[in-house]
Symmetry: C2
Subunit: 174 residues, 2 copies
Amino acid sequence: MEALKQAIRDIPDFPKEGILFKDITPALEDRVVFRKMIDALRARYKDQKIDAVAGIEARGFVMASALAYVLGAGLVLIRKPGKLPYQTHRKTYALEYGTDAMEIHVDSLKTGQNVLLVDDVLATGGTIAAAVDLIQSNFKANIVEVAFMVELDFLKGREKLKGTNVLIHSMVNF
Amino acid sequence: MEALKQAIRDIPDFPKEGILFKDITPALEDRVVFRKMIDALRARYKDQKIDAVAGIEARGFVMASALAYVLGAGLVLIRKPGKLPYQTHRKTYALEYGTDAMEIHVDSLKTGQNVLLVDDVLATGGTIAAAVDLIQSNFKANIVEVAFMVELDFLKGREKLKGTNVLIHSMVNF
């Protein structure tokens, strides 16, 4: 996905000084790159009997929605606390300073379903590790793979998933 | 879209007492309903030369992403303040108590582009009126239509857009 890599923009000092942020929005706005990205993911997963694509708020929704459509799957939203209106399971996880949490509706996944979990960027891995645990602790569903648009290799986020048995796929690496 | 209407779940007293919230997540999770919804929107807009589909954070991203894909358009994100990393235009708007704001990257739209603006629910109309103004004040782009999954007729949100010249489409009305 060289076209995707080329379309990602570096933003220095965002969200705070010293961080070089990978801005994916130019890749989404480019109709050719966006289509190529979704088509590549479709090709990867089309024979895997994916029942549901779960996206992590908010940029994860972007990949998850188009991907759920092309795979003929349902779309599941993993959201920040207080955003989902029905009964939820919640997972609290550590940040650099303090904690954060995410939720999923208790009836979002069914036993035996094949789930593809997606987010935009794999950085330190804290968010995705929490999302994997949220699913594995509360549902008898199978996480087929975790897919990212971008992986920041130097942050070693993959290591946070070592204790689980999930596979990881990144479209581009920096 | 009777199937969509049937799939939407009522949640009493969310986000606060006295409000009957329309939960769209069961419609997204149902692969058949989700596909029908996107296909119906594709049929409506496929001959309109849509260049970009703009979605409003966060549930608006869900319709916008799959729709951008099926229309062969780019995807533009309208986000809450501080979330977009590059230079932005900002629109502040009034809430029942206090104010809120939304942003768009300054290079997200180009002169002459046809834009489809989407969000999940048309309620009081404050958010969508702000989004329309954000686009019309800062870009020479044409808003082809504003599309919603759900419109809550009794809140009269349409009236907030009367001063603009935009067309409004809702898939289901309550």
